[in-house]
C-alpha cells in the first residue's frame, strides 16, 4: 500500500487549484491523495502519521489551467460553484472540490444536476451557504460617513464573501469612496470612483479603532434608529421571528442595534 500523500495549500481559490493540478498530474492515484487547505493557528495541528506532506506554493499559471479546463470541459456553472465553495468556511473544502472535480470531469456538464450524489450535494449546500451569506450582507452592511464623504463598513462574515459583495456596492455607489473591512480576515475592499475596486490586506486593528471606524453617529444614523423603532408594530412584537430572519451575529455592526 502506498503512503498517503497530503497536499497542503493556501486557503484560496488559486491555492486549491494549484494543489489540484499538482495532485492530478502526479498520477499517484486519487485515492492515495488528500488536499488540505492551510488555516491560521491550526497549522499542522492534525498532522497524520505515515503520510507524506507536500507544501504547495500557489502558482497562478497552474491555477489558471485548472480554471480554464473546468470552464471548457465541465461548465461555467460548475466553475462558479467551485469558486464559491472555495470561499466557504468549511474545513476540508479543498479535498471536497478535488473529489467533485474528479467526478465532474468524468460526468461532464450534467454534474450539477446530480443532487442525490453525496459529493455534489455537499458542494451544492456549501455553495448555497456562501451565496446566502453574501446576499444577506448586501442588505445588512452599514456604512458610516467620515471626513470627506468616505464611507466605511465593518463586517464579520463566516465565509470569505468580500469579493462577492463588493461588486454590488461598486455598481450601486459608483460615485462614492468606500471601504468594506472584513474583520475576520483583516481584508478590505476599497473603491474609488472611476477606478476598479481593489482588495487589500490590513494589519490587525484594535477594537477601539474599529469602533471608531464604524460607529460614528451623525444626524442620519440617529434618524435611522428612530425610524427603525417606530416602524415596528408593538402588538406584533416577535423577537424569535426577528432573530430567525436576522441572526444575532450580523447585528454587532449594524447601526440600528448599536446602543
Amino acid at each position: 500500500m502506498k503512503n498517503k500523500r497530503i497536499y497542503l495549500c493556501d486557503n484560496s481559490i488559486d491555492g486549491i487549484f494549484t494543489a489540484i493540478y499538482l495532485a492530478w498530474s502526479s498520477r499517484y492515484g486519487h485515492s492515495n491523495i488528500k488536499i488540505e487547505e492551510k488555516y491560521e493557528g491550526s497549522k499542522f495541528a492534525n498532522i497524520e502519521l505515515f503520510a507524506e506532506y507536500i507544501v504547495v506554493d500557489t502558482d497562478y499559471n497552474l491555477s489558471k489551467k485548472v480554471a480554464d479546463s473546468i470552464k471548457k470541459k465541465i461548465s461555467e456553472e460548475a466553475y462558479e460553484m467551485v469558486c464559491r465553495v472555495a470561499l466557504s468556511y468549511y474545513e476540508g473544502k479543498a479535498d471536497l472540490i478535488y473529489r467533485f472535480l474528479i467526478l465532474a470531469f468524468a460526468v461532464g456538464p450534467t454534474i450539477t444536476e446530480r443532487l442525490s450524489n453525496e459529493i455534489v450535494n455537499r458542494m451544492f449546500r456549501l455553495d448555497r451557504n456562501v451565496g446566502r451569506e453574501a446576499h444577506h450582507l448586501l442588505g445588512f452592511i452599514r456604512f458610516s460617513q467620515h471626513a470627506d464623504g468616505l464611507l466605511i463598513s465593518v463586517i464579520r462574515p463566516k465565509n470569505d464573501v468580500l469579493t462577492l459583495v463588493t461588486p454590488h456596492f461598486a455598481d450601486r455607489l459608483s460615485q462614492e469612496k468606500f471601504i468594506i473591512y472584513d474583520e475576520n480576515r483583516k481584508l478590505a475592499s476599497i473603491h474609488i470612483p472611476g477606478r476598479q475596486w481593489i482588495l487589500a490586506q490590513l494589519p490587525k486593528l484594535e477594537q477601539e479603532k474599529l469602533d471608531e471606524i464604524w460607529g460614528i453617529d451623525d444626524e442620519y444614523s440617529n434618524l435611522w434608529k428612530i425610524f427603525f423603532k417606530s416602524i415596528a408594530i408593538k402588538e406584533r412584537t416577535n423577537p424569535k421571528l426577528q432573530r430567525n430572519n436576522l441572526p444575532l451575529r450580523y447585528r454587532s455592526y449594524m447601526t440600528e442595534f448599536k446602543i
Binding site: 442588505g139 452599514r142 464611507l151 463598513s153 434618524l223 428612530i226 406584533r236 412584537t237 416577535n238
Partner: protein, 524 residues
Amino acid sequence: MVILETMSLQRKLEILSDAAKYDVACTSSGVDRKGNSLGMGNSVACGICHTFSADGRCISLLKVLYTNECIFDCKYCANRASNDIVRASFTPEELSELTMEFYRRNYIEGLFLSSGILISPNHTMELIIETVRRLRQLHHFNGYIHCKAIPGADPALIELLGWYTDRMSINLELPTAESLKQLAPHKNRKNILKPIRQVQIGKKLFTDYKGVTPYSDRPVMQAVNVLTDTAGLPDLTGMTDSVGMAISNGISDGRPEPIAASVNDNSYKDNDIKDIIRTGSSLAPYHNRPATKRSFVPAGQSTQMIVGATDESDYQIMAVAEALYRNFDLKRVFYSAFMNVNQDPRLPSTEDGPPLLREHRLYQADWLIRFYGFTINELLDERRQNFNLLLDPKCDWALSHLDRFPVEINRADYHTLLRVPGIGTISAQRIITARKSAALDFEDLKRLGVVLKRAVYFITCKGRMMYPVKLDEDFISRQLLAVKERLPFGIEKDLTYKQLSIFDDANFKLANHDLVGGFLITGS
C-alpha cells in the same frame, strides 16, 4: 388637532413612519437595474432585506407617509380626520434628501411613499410626484421607489407618477364595495379599480419602451391616438375593441400563466371588476412623459386588503384576490390582519391580538394560486367558506382528494409534484433535476432537502411508500395534525388556543386559556 408650526425632522420621521407601519408591502423586488455613472443606485430583482424590525418584518424600504393629515375619515385608519393626533408633513426637499442619505449608508433599498390626503387627492399627488421627481432628476437616484397612487387623483398625475416609480400600488382596502362604503365612506371602489386598470394598460402600452423611439411613433400608440382623436382624449370607451384586445391578448406574455384556465369569469359576481375591465374610460396615455430614460412602473403593481374588519369569508376575499390577479396583472395582493387601532366600538375588537393565523392561511392560499396552479374554487366553495385553521390549505385539499395520491416521485410531472403537501416549488424543481441522473429514493429526497414528514403520506419512490400507509382520510389527517406545522413564530400560541373550536369558523373568539389541551390531536 395639534398643529405645530415648526417640527424637527426627527419628530416628523417618528410620526410619519409610525403612521405608515400598517402598510404591508415592503418588498423591493421585481426589477433588475444596473447602476449608472451619473447617479447612485441599482436594483436587484430578487429584492434585498436590509433589516428586520422588532415584529420580525422585513425592512427594505424607507416606508413613510408624506403626510398624516387627511380629509378622509376611514373608520379603520389611525390617521382619519376625526382622530385627535399630532399631524405632520414632510417637504419634498426633506424627504428626497433623507432617502438619499439613508441609501448611501446602505440602510435601505429605496423609498416606499404613501400618504394621507392633504387638501385634495390631486394636491397630495403633486407633492408625492415632486418628491420622486427630485429624487430621480435632481439626485439622479436610480434605486427602488414604490408609491401609493391616491384614488381619485387625475389620471394624468397617475401616469406621471408611473414614470418615476418602480412599483405602484393602490389599496383596495376592503374586499367588497359594501364594506368599503361602510368603513371608508369617502372612498369609492371604482375610483380604486380605475387607476389599477390605468396602470395595467399603461404598462402594456409602454412596455420595453426605453426612450429610443418617441412613443407616439410606436404602432400601438398610433392605434391609441386614432381612438383618442375620434373619441376625445380622456375617454377611451372604444378601447376594448381594438387596443384593449391587443392588451388582453398580450398580457400573458413574459411570464408563465400561473392560473389554470378552467375558471370561468362568471364565477365572480364582482360587477365592479367587470365594469372596469369593460370600460376603458379615462385610461388614455397623457403624453406627459418626463425626460427620464425609465420604463413605466417596471416592477408592476400591488394592492392590499384588510382582513377581519368586516365579515367577508376567506372565500370571498380569495375570490377577489384571484380576480385581481387574473384581470389586472397584479404582482401581489397583500393581506393585513385587522387591528382596531382606534378602539372603535363599531369595529371588531382585537384585544386578543390581530387575526394572524387567518392572515397566514390567506397568504398560503395566495401562494397556491400564484405558484402552484390552484384555483380558489378548488380550495373553498360556497358551502365551505373559510380555511381550516388547523391544517394548511394544501394539506386540506390533499385530504379531500386522496384518490389522486400517492404520486410516484420519479415519474410525476412538475404540477403533480407541486400538489403534494410538503413539496414546494424548490423541492419539486430539485426532484425533477436530480431524477434525470438517478432514480430517487426516500434517502435521496432527504438529501435534496425535501421535508418528508407531511409528504410521506402522499408519495411513492420506485413504487413503494416509505411506510405502509392506509390512504384513509381520518387516519392521515390525524397523522398530519400530529406533525407540528412550522408557523411563523408567534402564531403557534394562537393555534393551541384554537384547537377546541370548530374547524371552519374563522370568526370565533379566542377560547379561554384553560381550554388548552387539544383533544383533537389523538394520533402519534
